[in-house]
Assembly symmetry: C2
Homo-oligomer: 266 residues x 2
């Protein structure tokens, strides 16, 4: 810290004002597809455009920690509430901080982005400052790796939120490889095919059912059997799959690596 050249009673209000926000990339699986929670902005700038839910961190009065701010914004702008335990099972982790000058046209804003993973949740109710809120399929956003929109895509995200979303997706894809995070997208009891559907939705590619099954069961602590069986077979037939709970592993060893990432190596 290099603040020591300033007087001891130094008040940041007199100095270089920076605003701090949190933005949340909240992901879930719906109908077998990866969805992100977006809100439609009610006011300028970017009025009418979709954006990640987020808002100012309470800095001094009612000072709150950054993860608390993320949860609060998630609740405020979507109507999800803690009383019903809807926020209980949400995995939250810090994604990164975005502070390039000019990213907000009005003033200097530094945003701490969080990544949230949730099992299937109800449709959000617009609240707080959001004119609207919805789970949006990630595939329909036409994102490219650079965070820009693909040609012909009309939907855009406010600020640099497209880049934040791309970074969040890449983080999520990687985390599925070496952590049991995929179970956070599932109900408390789930089947191996359901777990595979999570991997396929997030990674965007089909996996070999048989090898995936054997692999999941062979990783120590990934899943543990409940001894029970689902009450229905697959959607188009097949035996009733067994039910599992999340195990106690924090890391998957060996990891479940994504097939064929040759293009990302160089």
């Amino acid at each position: 810290m290099s603040e020591s050249e300033r007087p001891a009673g130094y008040d940041p209000r007199d100095y270089d004002p920076v605003s701090v926000t949190v933005d949340v990339v909240a992901l879930t699986i719906r109908d077998g597809a990866l969805h992100v929670l977006l809100v439609r902005r009610g006011n300028p700038p970017y009025a009418g455009m979709w954006a990640l839910p987020g808002g100012f961190v309470r800095g001094v009065r009612d000072a709150e920690d950054l993860p608390d701010a993320a949860v609060r914004e998630l609740a405020e702008e979507t109507g999800l509430n803690a009383e019903q335990g809807q926020l209980e099972r949400i995995h939250l982790e810090q994604l990164g901080t975005y502070g390039t000058p000019g990213r907000d046209p009005r003033m200097r804003v530094i945003s701490v982005a969080y990544l949230a993973f949730a099992p299937e949740l109800p449709d959000p109710k617009a609240g707080g400052d959001a004119a609207d809120a919805a789970w949006v399929p990630v595939g329909r956003l036409g994102l490219t790796d650079g965070g820009d929109q693909a040609p012909g895509t009309t939907r855009r995200l406010a600020f640099d939120h497209a880049q934040i979303l791309v970074d969040g997706l890449e983080r999520a894809r990687g985390k599925l490889e070496y952590t049991p995070l995929a179970t956070a997208f599932c109900a408390p009891e789930f089947t191996v095919p359901e777990l595979r559907a999570v991997y396929e939705a997030v990674w965007g590619e089909e996996l070999h059912a048989g090898n995936f099954h054997r692999k999941v069961l062979s990783v120590p602590g990934f899943v543990e059997s409940t001894g029970t069986t689902s009450d229905r077979g697959g959607r188009k037939g097949g035996p009733r799959p067994k039910l599992y709970r999340a195990g106690d592993a924090r890391l998957l060893h060996p990891a479940l690596l994504r097939p064929s990432r040759e293009e990302e190596i160089r």
Copy 2:
């Protein structure tokens, strides 16, 4: 963003003031041991204690991007300068943001931490607000996984910098596994034994020389031969090792996994 309930000409100065700093975990290898760059604080709080180099982000006047602020603080407080290219070959990446209320006893400060990797650099000259600056062997800090100090350790770090350092070390250890980052600790031309020494210093365990050698050469794009040979053998004898440059790979595939991390899995 939830600022829309505020008037359009809203000035953050009138609102909840938050200060933003950057702190840098700068790592290098000296004499076969991992070192971190620390500065001794000249002013309260924590006067006389060691801390990570860092300082305020210029927010509005001369607004600077976050990585630029990290490089500037690194230069200011250590005397390393860009003219001599000392900052050229430094790898810099964002580590995380620390904003728990109370982490700075004076006011609400949110700090964006950066992680820097450098080849061997000269001793720093204290500058800026630092009373002193030095490369300190990480092993002598007595850090535990939780970021607290081990019993009997007198040296402590200011603020929550011990935790930031622990997080940075863990990030560095992981990054060596699946990226060619270790080459950033080496001179432009290096030998396989030198590269192995980097892994051993960061991971804190000895590696099998023969298997390491074969593994490094088998990963596509990790290193490329210069065709030349070092002018001296190992420190206690042995053939002259061949010289290599960093290759063009961005990811190591297959990865070089750390041996025996059983304890971290559960």
